[in-house]
Subunit: 328 residues, 2 copies
């Protein structure tokens, strides 16, 4: 069997996770990694894969079936998404919700012109959570969707704390509030404020001699990031931060609370994830959708797609008859 | 806008649920109901829909876009599925898991010959639970799927109890065992026996003067239905049965417990349903997939399909740009 040849663009946490996920896929192989660093300095796990500079991106055209873009949504993907779609089929995890329409349009134009498939915004949110919002809303049109995140590390909020004067290092967990979750599960259709849904828990390493009260005040009153939430600040040692907070767990909940008939029958649909490693799980989703991109390209399809456009069977290495027999 | 014209074949609990779900769909209308009973005796809710005898099934060809087959899987669907697929696009909830390959083949042949689309085995299991098994397995190939049902009424088990001598009426609830669910959620990958996963709880109305101990023994030792389970039997009055047990709740859980990377990072994906009315929810799923069948038929596709073959966006009345903006 010819294996699907995958390329990885960007070898950070997500890129390394993608490499691991590819190694567990029976029908795929990693062909090349593209990096901004010096290619000679990069040590990857896959023996036969090549490492190239980002400048040499075009060099594997015709030799890579799907490129997995593992850059960030803030600055990498807005540029890389359309650029790489001119050369290859692509998958990415663009997750700036508000800018998705604009990003979709840019990638769609590039992919249609070059006759490639590009599946954007793949991961768990956007991604698996989006799928669950869509399925649930389509089945129960009378109802409401609720999304809760966590318990998990928010890189954006952790970075924001690290910028506070006197802070040496920090990590922030987003924590869903159990009471709010229970209210949704009860079918009560609660209207929940930002503060009622999530708590922000911060573990902070202060610089020697820094004013901890002042740091705590600066964090709790920080606009957009913390001021609308109940925030808990714990000061800990650098050693404790590394020992207890070096994993990147995450997860969350998507619920739909809806009714059928005359409105008397209530139904709750709940989807949840509890993840030890956010980047390893996200990259596992990317790899499954890379399989779909390959198949759609084989079928002659092109343009930008999202998880909404992909038939679930496309994600599995099993054929349709086996899927019906084993999983239906 | 031209509304999608739906027909319902069989007007039991599922058929009535489908009619209610159609009334909440902005882009659909019920055109006709087909029944085995005397059409004049049937009182349906939709003012402008027609009621026909099952014998007149062919009379609405060209006037119905999709037929929702609301018969049972034991005897109705094996015959109706292929027969109606010769005349119309169809949706059904065929749920005899072991016979799905055979049923798929029969419907596929009929639908391909007549150039119709037939989506089989739509509902929540098979259906939404199947989707979750497939998505989760594709993303976490190293892991295990677990399905729990309930708490909910099993019609098959309730019927089996009613056949026990001395039983006047009965209802049986399948109850997932919380301890087993928690073991799965912990990531411990437990091997669970039938008895460890589900409890069977029976509410029984005995005939006047019947030997209750004998009834209880007959139930608990019934092969296939109860002998492999811990079974609890409560004797209650007919009045209490009607007062407290006349709804048809159901639900359940699909979990995947898997690992990524070197196996050290554990992930739990959990999907659950808590349904006040099994038939109203199931028919809501059927109606959403009827929209997909209509669209696929418009695209010129034909043959038998399952939920695995349907891109999620097909289920929603919203267009792709709105879906990306609102739900992605």
């Amino acid at each position: 069997m010819n294996k699907i040849k995958i390329g990885i663009v960007g070898y950070g946490n997500l890129g390394r996770g993608a490499e691991l996920a590819i190694s567990h896929a029976p029908d795929m192989e990693l062909a090349a990694v593209f990096t901004r660093r010096d290619p000679a300095s990069l040590h990857i796990l896959t023996e036969n894969a090549k490492v190239y500079s980002m400048d040499a991106l075009a060099c594997m055209q015709g030799k890579i079936d799907v490129m997995i873009l593992c850059g960030g949504s803030a600055t990498d993907l807005p540029e890389q998404g359309p650029a790489v779609a001119k050369l290859y089929n692509t998958i990415d995890s663009f997750d700036t919700h508000a800018k998705i329409p604009e990003y979709f349009a840019a990638v769609d134009e590039a992919a249609k012109n070059s006759k490639h498939i590009s599946i954007i915004s793949v991961g768990w949110d956007p991604g698996l959570f989006s799928l669950n919002r869509l399925y649930a809303e389509s089945i129960l049109p009378n109802g409401e969707n609720y999304t809760f995140w966590g318990k998990g590390v928010s890189q954006g909020h952790s970075d924001a704390i690290r910028r506070v004067p006197g802070v040496k290092n920090a990590i922030q967990y987003t924590v869903p509030i159990e009471k709010a979750l229970e209210a949704v599960r009860s079918g009560a259709h609660p209207q929940l404020t930002t503060r009622q849904k999530h708590l922000r828990e911060c573990y902070v390493v202060a610089e020697e001699g820094a004013d901890k009260a002042q740091i705590e005040h600066a964090i709790k009153t920080m606009p957009n990031y913390f001021d609308e939430y109940d925030t808990v600040v714990h000061f800990i040692s650098e050693e404790e931060l590394h020992r207890n907070h070096s994993k990147m767990p995450h997860g969350g909940f998507v619920l739909r609370s809806g009714t059928t008939g005359d409105g008397n029958n209530k139904h709750i649909i709940e989807y949840s994830l509890k993840l030890d490693s956010n980047p390893e799980f996200t990259s596992s989703v990317l790899v499954a959708y890379a399989r779909a991109a390959y198949r759609m390209a084989q079928n002659g399809e092109c343009g930008a797609k999202t998880v909404f456009d992909i038939a679930p069977a496309m994600l599995s290495p099993k054929d349709s008859a086996d899927l019906r027999k084993e999983l239906l």
